[in-house]
Point group: C2
Chain length 491, copies 2
């Protein structure tokens, strides 16, 4: 791809189209071979571990004045793939996403090639309509019979942030202009098992993490039997201005319920929490980023019973439903254009009102982002190909394969033979705490699989295995147990 030098001859294009196409063509063959076929082949490694120091040398990261030849760049592509973790491999159980979804992948490729951005219908006509279609269908599955609104965005953390902002704006619309200095101290409620993005949102939005009241959870589920009402009683809650006001002078404005917690896969009792929210006029947000997929399944949708009573929902099809990263929806029951009113700034260079088409299709002003990727297309295409029926089967299969008491999160300790006869007590747990990190190190270095671990509240380090991919079968479940034993039996 020759370029122009010095006094630039502007008369002709400075990019050689044919050479570019040829390069892309060659790269596609590498991607197909290494990043699709080999990456998902159960006989291959999940990762080829290198330490940061080793990898820095292998990759030659430095950016220089001169460019490199195409053959060298192709080799860099191969290396980038080689040393990356294969999250699509059947033995990747490490995060809340996994597996290779061919239709969604193709949709991703199309998006990358076309470079659309979703602010106006004019620039992204196809993807604007597809986003609308997917949101409407998700709203239907939530059970909001009157409809609703929504937006795809850059991840579940951002969806939760949208929820906090909408809840706040709903109760105190003046905050948008006047800021928080114009209102009393605001507080919100969530369980201690919620995702950390709730606290991050509170910090970013000026609410403050200590104004997120963490409701204690029982051992399995997220909220205790009687959710935040317990807390409200403690506060001697009184009603004032249609909102509860705690004695400390703070004003509660929302409750976040979690449908599918990150570590344990627990579901908050949405019905009970909705009762409280209705009684005290609090915004109910359901973080169903992980658990929302159960809405696809007749067998499992009971886990989210009452979700239709929520004011807003976060739901990430890139998790159990396997859409390509990222595919994350924020949905709101409101029909008064709250999302737009809360976030709009009416930039005149994008949202001209004298356009020749119906500008209600220009959805960009609902967003806190400016350029925004058309992530809904990655879900739309696979939904078209599979139908709701096969999406349901996938969820049912994953949960049947996991056979966990809590969704698709399989949480367990591996106890090596040397610990099996120790009496229950601090010494046992102290030793058990050290097992998972060593087994994890060994599985990474061998590259045989990836399963996460963590400590949790008062519990010593345990494995958290997430089962999603239809490529994973019962044989793979057996493999995981055998492999952990092989890697840790000497400990």
């Amino acid at each position: 791809m020759p370029s122009t030098k010095g006094d630039v001859p502007l008369i002709s294009p400075a990019q050689n189209g044919l050479a570019a196409e040829n390069f892309i063509h060659q790269s596609m063959a590498i991607i197909m071979e290494d990043a699709v076929k080999k990456a998902t082949d159960v006989r291959e490694k999940v990762c080829e571990w290198r330490s940061p120091e080793q990898l820095k040398e292998l990759l030659d990261l430095e950016l220089r004045d001169g460019g490199e030849s195409e053959s060298k760049i192709l080799q860099r592509c191969r290396d980038a793939i080689r040393y990356s973790v294969k999250t699509t491999h059947p033995h990747f159980f490490n995060q809340l996403y996994a597996g290779m979804e061919p239709y969604s992948l193709v949709a991703s490729f199309i998006v990358e090639a076309l470079k659309p951005s979703l602010y106006t219908y004019e620039v992204a006509p196809v993807f604007t309509l597809m986003e609308d279609a997917v949101l409407r269908k998700m709203i239907e599955m939530i059970g909001w019979e009157e409809g609703g609104d929504g937006i795809f965005n850059a991840g579940g953390s951002m969806s939760n942030m949208y929820a906090v902002n909408l809840a706040r704006y709903h109760h105190f619309p003046d905050i948008k202009e006047a800021g928080l200095s114009a209102v009393p101290r605001l507080v919100m409620f969530t369980s201690q098992e919620c995702h950390y993005s709730i606290s991050k949102a509170a910090a970013l939005m000026g609410i403050g993490t200590k104004n997120v009241y963490m409701v204690p959870s029982d051992n399995r589920a997220s909220f205790e039997q009687r959710p935040c009402c317990v807390y409200f009683d403690v506060c001697n809650t009184i009603k004032r201005n249609s909102l509860c006001v705690c004695v400390q002078g703070a004003v509660p404005f929302m409750v976040n319920a979690t449908a599918g917690t990150t570590v344990l896969g627990a579901f908050d009792p949405i019905q009970e929490i909705a009762d409280i929210c209705e009684k005290y006029n609090l915004w109910l947000h359901v973080d169903a980023c992980w658990g929302g997929a159960a809405l696809m399944s007749n067998k499992h949708q009971h886990l989210l019973k009452g979700i239709h009573r929520a004011n807003s929902v976060a739901w990430n099809p890139h998790k159990m439903l396997m859409a390509c990263l990222q595919c994350s929806a924020f949905l709101v029951r409101d029909k008064t254009n709250l999302l737009q009113r809360c976030h709009s700034s009416s930039a005149s260079y994008l949202f001209q009102q004298d356009k020749f088409y119906d500008v209600s299709y220009d959805t960009g002003d609902k967003s806190v982002q400016c350029s925004r990727k058309p992530d809904a297309f990655k879900f739309w295409l696979m939904w078209k190909a599979l139908g709701t029926g096969e999406l349901e089967e996938r969820v049912d299969r994953a949960l049947a394969t996991a056979r966990s008491p809590e969704y698709a999160n399989v949480c367990f300790w591996y106890s090596p033979p040397s610990l099996r006869n120790l009496p229950d007590g601090p010494e046992l747990w102290k030793k058990l705490h050290t097992v998972a990190p060593v087994v994890k190190e060994r599985m990474m270095k061998k590259g045989s699989m990836m399963v996460g671990y963590q400590p949790h509240r008062d519990k010593a380090n345990f494995f958290r295995m997430i089962v999603i991919s239809p490529q994973a079968s019962r044989l793979d479940m057996d493999f995981v147990l055998d492999e952990i034993h092989n890697l840790g039996k000497d400990l």
Copy 2:
């Protein structure tokens, strides 16, 4: 890709790998032909306009219980491409991004196939190191000789949000926990030409849009001759607690300077603003999302003179440098881990401290996102291929082609023959205001090119043409003028 039905046989994979590969392979041929070759061919249309109503019928958007055949899905791929705007076409001048960058595109494809997420080194070793390498090089080009920190994120709006949060946290670290109710009313300064994301950030973060003090601009540049000091004088600013406090009792904490405004392409005088910020101990953020590319050019970097004095910088390589969407960096001069301290929540399921490698490589807790795409790779690969030298030539070429007094933004009115003899006055401008929308409608329906228009302050609708792609030559500049005349000469 047959699936399992009813009582799911979990013994074997439920996804047919070979069929999936075959589908991806066929799709790649379509993408290559329609979304790469045809999309960038100057003889083809930039868009094939359909109204929302027509397009809804053509696309059959509804999501159903049953799936569709592969051949039907392939046709859906062709249709999605066909009716999408070709932002990579040489005659797309509508946004602050354009053109097809083959190396960056291939990097995007790799990312989509591998599905990495950038929270920990363990899950994204290659891309974690590449992000670090790109950030360090960008920091070098800004001129922060002592180094700095940074993070790629989901767009310039988010970078500006990071800046506001860091500035606030730097002055009032208690806000993270206690919220804004614990501090006086905060105010920030920016020019009235700044991007709308500054106001959106203020709204979202609880500061409030009316606490964003908009400093008047002159006719060309963004800030007036003597930037915010004008405002400070008006406020009878006094110094207290190392921060200026206006008489109204509000506390200024940051100034946003814009390097390359969205509509006019103007650059704020960073040196003068930095003087003020140093004098009053205000955080200086430079929104160089659009103008940052000039740092690559010896000839044009003077536009950003003084940027090394900024506390933070937003810079989007997906704009003039043509990395695939999105590729957006937030950079901060701080060396005390401010980014991490401001945003961390130390989730134990991701950021275990007993890992077997140096966990300082786990950068995810710097982010307000949880899963995050490795966008830096899209810039790293093209930088390796082109070298800094060719990136510089691209910038020089774009600015030479634009020959605009303000960066690559070419802003102009088209006056049809019928208006050319009218005297200057309200009637002329009222008529001129109606010309651009009609010309725009006609160019969209013909599909010959895309150029934006907008009103601006007291100015009637004018065209704003953005010149970026090395595929666009002087012939294409001539084409735009001729075509606007053809489309509008009867008005």
